[in-house]
């Protein structure tokens, strides 16, 4: 029988994972693998392959159409602009050691939007088609300019679906910012590195400021409930907190989603944390231990289900083709189309990382500015390479349908985008992550299966999360 291409990845126990272009997957026992290699498939194999859309009968338009549909469904549809990341000010009232944007001091005034920039941002909002908008306010510390945030939010009343996220260090909450937080369409995103000692090391640095932050976090969680607030830790990979204590810190505030990121090496961080250029094996071991601890926690205490955000994004991508919209991981991943970043001076960047690269003088990836537009030659050049589909390494990788492409990360680390995939940090990170996820998918540990069930929002634990050809 003829088959659509399957990409294999060897598993530690002599089995193999097989994935087709649409991301449909199964594992092969060593015996089944041998039948594949010798081309001696038995009727059960053939039945399985036909049922699951791997076989191709040239005369069957159904074989061709259903396969084409699934492959198309895998590709992310990038629509028109409806997501803005805005930096109304670069000023900040903290001085975190890993600050990614080379922040400006609180009393330096040329680092806020000018009236012209504000006007152009509002024009940009007016030009958005559709009834959906998401805006993230980044900084600096955006809460230093509640007036600018408010002007933007007020301009969005016409959208039926709108969401605003204020990314704030919660160092100072006054009436101005609380009025904004009170809106049901406004959400708070903050940083929480762990318990008070941890949080103080790189961020608040003084006991007073630390206490202030924790009091404020408690205040907003109590006032609005944990659904309103999300928090991210930034982890120093050379000295990570014990997973238990980090989880406890999040649980204490009822926060159930933890996006475990190692320090990003751009900006000031690059100068101060030289070793963070590549994620080390130690980091990956830590990451794994962290997720395993989460799984144990979820199992032993069913009251709350915690997740590591990026793992969940990847996991859902495997099972939900085309249904999640995550600009963090997608393929193709064109820049400057459905979302843009507008900096404090009106410059438009394709991503927040690109903004930081420019600030720290590594490479200027600005694609335009908010006044004169960003439909530029530069953007086009970037977007010629925005897919992993034709990368010679990815083409052979079992994880290609689930994985993505991050041009900015490559440029940040290597100054070029044609480094062999497997030598990039992006690839190593995702290979490791998908290996780990497939280990979980095929685990028969009830605790693992319970967490997967909850992360995938299923009513009950299924008999299996993946099939195997014996």
């Amino acid at each position: 029988m003829s088959l659509y291409p399957l990409r294999l990845r060897a598993l530690p126990n002599g089995e193999a994972l097989a994935v087709n272009d649409s991301g449909s997957f199964f594992t092969l026992s060593p015996a089944a693998l041998e039948r594949f290699e010798r081309d001696t498939l038995n009727p059960q194999d053939e039945g399985y392959l036909t049922q699951h859309g791997h076989s191709l009968d040239e005369n069957s338009s159904f074989d061709r159409m259903s396969h084409a549909y699934c492959v198309a469904e895998r590709l992310d549809q990038v629509g028109t602009l409806d997501y803005l990341i805005l930096v109304p000010t670069l000023r900040c009232n903290l001085r975190c050691s890993y600050c990614q944007v080379s922040r400006a001091d609180i009393d330096q005034h040329k680092y806020d939007w000018s009236p012209d920039t504000l006007a152009a941002v509002l024009d940009c909002i007016d030009a958005i088609q559709g009834d959906h908008i998401k805006i993230e306010f980044q900084g600096g510390e955006p809460s230093l300019r509640p007036d600018l945030i408010q002007a933007v939010i007020e301009r969005c009343e016409r959208f039926a679906h709108r969401q605003f996220v204020v990314c704030t260090n919660l160092q100072c909450i006054d009436d101005g910012i609380l009025t904004l937080f009170d809106r049901p369409d406004c959400f708070i995103s903050t940083s929480l590195d762990g318990d008070t000692t941890r949080h103080a090391i790189h961020r608040t640095q003084s006991e007073g400021k630390t206490r202030q932050f924790f009091d404020n976090l408690r205040y907003v969680v109590e006032r609005y409930g944990p659904g309103k607030v999300s928090a991210l830790p930034t982890i120093d990979a050379s000295d990570p907190p014990p997973p238990e204590s980090l989880i406890d810190a999040y649980r204490e505030f009822g926060l159930d989603s933890i996006f475990l990121r190692p320090i990003n090496y751009q900006g000031f961080a690059r100068k101060r944390h030289k070793h963070s250029r590549e994620q080390s094996h130690a980091w990956r071991r830590y990451y794994r231990r962290f997720v395993e601890t989460l799984i144990e926690r979820n199992w032993s205490d069913r009251d709350q289900v915690l997740e590591e955000s990026y793992l969940s994004i990847c996991l859902r991508r495997i099972f939900w083709p085309g249904n999640e919209r995550h600009v963090d991981l997608r393929n193709p991943n064109p820049m400057g189309m459905d979302y843009i970043v507008v900096d404090h001076d009106g410059t438009v960047y394709p991503t927040d990382e690109a903004r930081m690269l420019a600030r720290s003088g590594i490479i200027d990836l600005a694609i335009g500015d908010i006044v004169s537009g960003w439909d530029s030659e530069r953007r086009e050049t970037l977007n010629r390479h925005a897919t992993n589909q034709f990368d010679p390494t990815c083409q052979h990788c079992a994880y290609q349908p689930f994985c993505g492409r991050d041009l900015i990360d490559d440029l940040a680390r290597y100054g070029r985008i044609d480094v062999p995939r497997t030598e990039t940090e992006f690839c190593r990170r995702h290979l490791h992550l998908f290996d780990f996820i497939f280990e979980l998918i095929y685990s028969d540990d009830p605790a693992v299966r319970y967490s997967l069930t909850r992360w995938l929002r299923l009513p009950e634990t299924p008999v299996s999360f993946g099939t195997m050809l014996e």
């Binding site: 049922q51 069957s60 259903s66 549909y69 699934c70 099972f319 299923l458 009513p459 634990t461 099939t467």
Partner: protein, 359 residues
């Protein structure tokens, strides 16, 4: 049970379609109520006077009727207040399903022109069901109907129940037209094994024809609702069907899994055909879990809520049309009655499936 056929006496001698006006809702062209007495009402219309017996005039306001003077009968084609209106375009069919609830007949009466008139008079934004027999045995007339109505009444939408055996490549261009964005096709698939599906529908080659026609519908961007009736024969194979659907029919809008209706062929074959998910939920659960894992939109029809474990109840739809729905006396105190499909009017109360456990 709400009667869909009423006795009628009319001056006219040929069948005609008319919308019944009422003192509070009279539109141009509507029949005018001239006399009402108990369950009998007399109307004046362009086709002359007619009298309807069996339902009070107030219950008929806005309904679209087909009056057949010779048969002394009126068919309520479109009931203004009901979300469940279906037009039966033919009683012929090329399949002979073991459990058919409306066994096919050999003869065909062409009523497309009358149905077209009826649709034109339907309330705004109504979803109208088209059923048979097999409607696509007359698919060109069906396409004409859909397109003509779209031109004057783009607010209406259609749900066509079809075995999908009769589409052809030539239909693709036509079905790419804007009228078909308002049409969804309810298509039965009983198993992913061709022999089993063919046996259930009583037609050899039906399965492979169906798959090829799915390809046509996919190319036409057609909206598909897949339908699977649970039977003794296909129930154990339901999880495999779920695998098939999740890997090969990802284009569908919905997958409706439904319990058998106690009528037609199924009435006398009940003992050998019916399954009761209340007593054996495992295959259904496995199929649903796999579908949810892969984000396939499963919904359950004709399964009372109390037959399902709590976590699965929200997928059960109150699917039984108002005019043929009933509840049992035991249902009286049930908290979920309003959400529940209940039973078909003709379902025997002593049947195993009717042993309810009020929630």
């Amino acid at each position: 049970m709400i009667p869909l056929r009423l006795s009628a006496f009319a001056e006219a001698d040929r069948p005609f379609v008319v919308r019944l006006g009422s003192p509070s809702g009279q539109r141009c062209g509507d029949a005018v109520l001239v006399e009402a007495e108990g369950n009998s009402a007399t109307y004046a219309s362009k086709a002359g006077l007619f009298t309807i017996d069996g339902v009070a005039a107030s219950g008929l306001a806005g309904d679209v009727l087909l009056i057949q003077p010779r048969e002394q009968r009126a068919e309520r084609l479109i009931r203004a207040t009901s979300p469940h209106n279906t037009l039966l375009v033919t009683e012929r069919c090329d399949q002979l399903c073991v459990m058919c609830s409306q066994p096919p007949k050999k003869t065909h009466v062409d009523r497309f022109a009358l149905f077209e008139e009826a649709c034109m008079l339907a309330p705004e934004n109504m979803l109208i069901g088209i059923t048979g027999g097999e409607p696509t045995l007359y698919r060109h007339q069906l396409f004409d109907l859909i397109e003509r109505i779209y031109r004057t009444r783009p607010d209406l939408s259609f749900h066509v129940l079809t075995n999908a055996q009769h589409f052809e490549n030539d239909d693709i261009d036509r079905m790419l037209g804007p009228a078909y964005a308002r049409v969804s096709w309810g298509i039965p698939l009983y198993a992913s094994q061709s022999a089993l599906h063919d046996e259930i529908v009583g037609k050899r080659g039906a399965f492979s024809q169906l798959l090829e026609n799915f390809a046509i519908l996919m190319r036409a961007g057609a909206r598909i609702e897949l339908r699977t009736v649970l039977l003794r024969g296909n129930y154990p194979a339901l999880p495999e069907l779920a695998h098939f659907v999740a890997s090969r029919l990802r284009c569908i809008e919905a997958w409706s899994i439904m319990q058998l209706e106690h009528s037609g062929f199924a009435r006398r074959r009940w003992a050998s055909l019916a399954v009761n998910p209340r007593l054996d939920f495992a295959p259904l659960r496995e199929a649903m879990d796999w579908s949810f894992l892969h984000q396939m939109p499963v919904q359950l029809f004709n399964i009372p809520r109390c037959a399902l474990p709590e976590d699965y109840r929200r997928f059960a739809v109150a699917s039984i049309s108002d005019w043929k729905q009933k509840f049992l006396s035991a249902c009286d105190g049930c908290r979920e009655r309003d959400l529940c499909c209940g039973f078909f009017e003709w379902h025997p109360d002593q049947d195993e499936c009717a042993k309810v456990t009020p929630l």
